[in-house]
Amino acid sequence: MSLQGALRRSFLLLQEQQGVWGSILQECDSLAESLGNLGEQMGGLARVRLSDTPLRVFPDLQERLRFQLVQEADLLLQRLRGRMSDLQSVRDSISNQASAVLLLYEDAADTLDLAALSRRSSVVPSAADMLEWLQDAERYYRQQFLQRKILLQTLRLEDLSQVEGFPQRWKTLESPDSEQRITDTLCRLSFFMESQ
């Protein structure tokens, strides 16, 4: 059955992309951490009065330091955005796969009986379940990507508290439950995926 085949292919892809997604996120975490550090430095710089320290002999030190920090932050943001485009490609490949499978189902829907679709066995879940899980996974990645994108795009370097709190907010976006649910789904499907 071609639907079965398409589903199998989709889940194999999902399995592969899940690993990719995780590794990209790990890179992002360290970048977010550095950005938070820079934010703290900027905050410190804004609070200190250089004219009261021995460093007052250097002209324009505050502006220079600030410029340097902002430049650094910009660089970090650029790298983060680069990672975001990697994440986007992961999301896109999953989305495309999911919509292709759904399209396939729509085309064949007239010939398929709902009872047949919802019939499951001990090793193979029903097609309805699998379609649903695929949609769930697609929605999860889409949501994750969007949340991270909004966080990154609405970040303003002028707002120091925002920059300082960036790593925490980045971290709170993680949703281990949903991640676990996808892993569970893939485990449940392992027999199905192996039975070529």
Partner: protein, 749 residues
């Protein structure tokens, strides 16, 4: 088909727009996996995609509310059963264009997010969602600042109201609103009505709307619109409700300041919160009209005292914030209080709280309006007359009336449960409710008395006095139109004087029973206090309360001891003389305090518009009976101050004479009504032989005779014989003397 039970949505389905059904039902409806489905629910409908339940059970339905009509914004009711006919498949095509309004959480997000970015986000969020025209898409599952998207228009096919958004759909964002503003717009459609406050509502509405509708006119006139309103009124008249109502009507957003939220423990924290509140209001005002509502103003910003307490700083902060409002800040500050005198005076000048709106206890017509509104949604029996109900609820404020209606409904419900099968709320239920709910104007008042009802018939004789009392108390209530026609005013006060024991107090009781006034009675124990000035204040407050629930009878028994006279050589500065001056002032003073205003001044005039007869009558009554009537009783009229007895104060001075022959006979008849009197008793004879007996003496006589009968015939006495009466008369002597009576006849004034 069996009905479907609505269960709450599975957490893993949240945001998926799925509607979980049994596969059997799906086949019957001809649904495929993921086909769009319109579910109509009480309050609105919801667009979902159909999926079989994981356990394939029939008879249940679970819905993720993703796209729904605005009526469902507050969520689904629990315990709902749906009929399968409420589900209908809806063919959806791919949309080419869609116009939306985006609703975001905070002003900050709205301000700092570029429109192209927002467009990108919203488009990403809406991809794959089935939408319907005029519906709202919930975006809360994304956990971002973008909360809802309202679909305004879908294209290209004008006939199709619904469709699915794909990556190729062109999206147009018409407007960005905040959640607060959106919710206030939603509420506007379901505003509950408010009775009897039309004038105040209109003036508040004008203040909110003028600067919005005619901004250029106002600038060309060079004036700024008032920006602060102080609502003053006793508790329960509906100040808070009024503000909420007006805000809803105008469609303004409301920022409420609650006392405990503002006050913080750290020094400077309260001021900081207050500043944040103003900032909040300012940003809300950018979207449309906005009202900053400070409830219970007196507790937050009391009069500043000498010491440097935390309240002083808070008041100062409010003053600076109110002064710092620039003309471009288009929000209105409304403060509400029931104790305007304890506010800081600096708050009450133009430029801060420009206007003061006084909402008094509702008048008769206002009460009728309130009752009509309250009873609109109750199954009230058509025989219940709102005007009559309004008449007997003197002194009730809006909160009391609503409590009364609730009580009445509860009584009706209880009766219904008992099985009489009546669904309607009748007048008797309201009367039961009246026993439980008292007027809050009089709560905690000094002279609140529970009097046992006395009928005119229970007082023997004294026909002339009764008529006079009826004239001054009952007539203005019963026939106000006649009084108005002849230009009569109801008397301010009545003085009853006469020898002791001649039923003065009982007469007043009967008068209070027959008129539906509020009745206050005060004695020396209530008024006198060891603190200087306390008694005067108590008396003034008593009058204030009595006026708040006018028409009202205020009874001062033994007025000669209560209120002194200035002429009898007593100490010129004694408490009695001070009380006298208070009483004189209150009865015929220069006017009322402004805070005591009730309703609007009504002037009766011949208008061209034909009014219904009952309305006219009510209006007459309202105009006629807005004062407090003082009824005083004394047996030493000579020791009263002459200023008290002039017309305009105690206008009617009525002498209650000792009973004459006829009266004594009547009294004896009344007294022996409940006694088994033997047939040989000749009351006429008894009446003739009891010259100089007062009413109290005669009552005592009957009692004595009955006791005598018991004494003589052991406890088995079945009737009282004439001899018993005669024996008692021989033992008793009258309490009045001819001298006394002649003294009364000489000294009316």
């Amino acid at each position: 088909m069996p009905p479907l039970r609505l269960l709450s949505v599975d957490p893993s389905d949240r945001g998926s727009q799925r509607c979980r059904l049994g596969p059997g039902l799906m086949s019957t409806l001809g649904l495929r996996l993921g086909s769009p489905l319109l579910v109509s629910l009480p309050g609105g409908s919801c667009l979902c995609t159909a999926w079989p339940r994981p356990d394939l059970a029939e008879g249940f339905i679970q819905m993720d509310l993703k796209c729904f009509s605005p009526g469902l914004t507050s969520g689904l009711p629990a315990h709902l059963t749906l009929d399968p006919v409420q589900l209908s498949p809806l063919p959806c095509s791919k949309l080419k264009r869609v116009k939306v309004t985006v609703i975001v959480q905070s002003h900050d997000f709205k301000k700092h997010t570029h429109s192209s970015l927002l467009h990108e986000f919203v488009k990403d969020m809406l991809r794959g969602v089935y939408v319907h025209r005029e519906y709202v898409v919930n975006m809360e599952d994304f956990n971002t600042d973008i909360r809802y998207v309202r679909i305004v228009w879908v294209g290209p096919d004008p006939a199709a109201a619904a469709g699915v958004i794909t990556s190729k759909t062109a999206l147009e964002i018409i407007e960005v609103q905040t959640v607060q503003h959106y919710k206030s717009l939603l509420l506007k459609e379901v505003a509950p009505p408010l009775g009897g406050l039309e004038e105040v509502t209109a003036s508040l509405r004008e203040m909110l709307q003028l600067p919005l509708f005619y901004p250029s006119t106002l600038t060309s006139l060079g004036v700024s619109c008032p920006r602060g309103v102080l609502l003053v009124g006793p508790p329960g008249v509906g100040k808070t409700l009024l503000v909420r109502r007006v805000v809803m009507e105008v469609g303004a957003s409301l920022v409420v300041v609650r006392g405990p939220e503002v006050v913080g423990s750290r020094p400077g924290e309260s001021e900081e919160t207050l500043r944040a509140v103003f900032e909040n209001a300012r940003s809300a005002a950018e979207e449309g009209p906005c009202v900053l509502f400070l409830d219970e103003l007196d507790s937050l910003f009391p009069r500043r005292s000498g010491s440097s307490s935390a309240e002083n700083r808070l008041v100062a902060q409010l003053l600076t914030l109110m002064d710092g409002m620039s003309r471009s800040d288009r929000f209105l500050i409304i403060g509400a209080t029931n104790r305007p005198d304890s506010l800081d005076p600096a708050l009450r000048r133009p430029g801060r709280f420009d206007r003061e709106v006084i909402i008094g206890a509702p008048t008769l017509l206002q009460r009728k309006a309130i009752l009509t509104v309250l009873c609109e949604r109750m199954p009230v029996c058509p025989t219940v007359n709102m005007a009559e109900l309004a008449q007997i609820t003197t002194g009730y404020v809006g909160a009391d009336l609503s409590a009364l209606c609730r009580e009445a409904a509860m009584h009706a419900l209880r009766e219904n449960i008992k099985g009489s099968g009546q669904q309607l709320v009748e007048m008797k239920h309201f009367q039961e409710g009246l026993k439980a709910v008292g007027p809050s104007c009089l709560r905690g008042s000094l002279g609140r008395t529970d009097l046992s009802p006395v009928l005119w018939e229970q007082i023997g004789g004294l026909e002339e006095v009764k008529t006079k009392l009826r004239q001054s108390i009952e007539w203005p209530m019963r026939h106000p139109e006649a009084f108005v026609r002849l230009g009569l005013r109801r008397p301010r006060g009545v003085l009853l004087y006469g020898p002791p024991g001649c039923a003065k107090t009982t007469l007043v009781k009967a008068a209070a029973t027959s008129s539906h006034c509020a009745f206050l009675s005060v004695s020396g124990a209530d008024l006198y206090s060891p603190y200087v000035g306390d008694s005067e204040k108590a008396l003034a407050q008593l009058f204030q309360q009595a006026r708040a629930c006018a028409p009202c009878l205020l009874f001062l028994d033994e007025i000669d001891t209560l209120i002194g006279s200035r002429s009898d050589g007593g100490a010129p500065n004694s408490v009695q003389t001070r009380l006298l001056s208070v009483l004189l002032n209150e009865m015929d003073g220069i006017g009322l305090k402004t805070v005591e205003r009730r309703g609007t001044e009504r002037i009766l005039q011949a208008e061209g518009v034909e009014q219904s007869h009952t309305d006219e009558e009510l209006e007459c009554q309202e105009v006629c009976n807005k004062d407090v009537m003082v009824v005083a009783a004394t047996n030493r009229p000579s020791s009263l101050d002459s200023a008290l007895l002039r017309p305009g104060r105690l206008d009617h001075v009525i002498y209650v004479p000792p009973p004459d022959l006829q009266a004594r006979l009547a009294i004896l008849k009344v007294c022996t009504k409940s006694m088994p009197v033997d047939s040989d008793v000749r009351l006429e004879e008894l009446a003739a032989s009891t010259e100089l007996y007062s009413g109290a003496d005669l009552e005592n006589l009957c009692k004595e005779a009955a006791l005598l009968a018991l004494l003589e015939e052991n406890m088995e006495a079945s009737s009282i014989r004439h001899t018993h009466f005669l024996q008692s008369i021989s033992k008793m002597s009258p309490s009045l003397t001819a001298q006394q009576i002649s003294a009364y006849l000489l000294s009316p004034q």
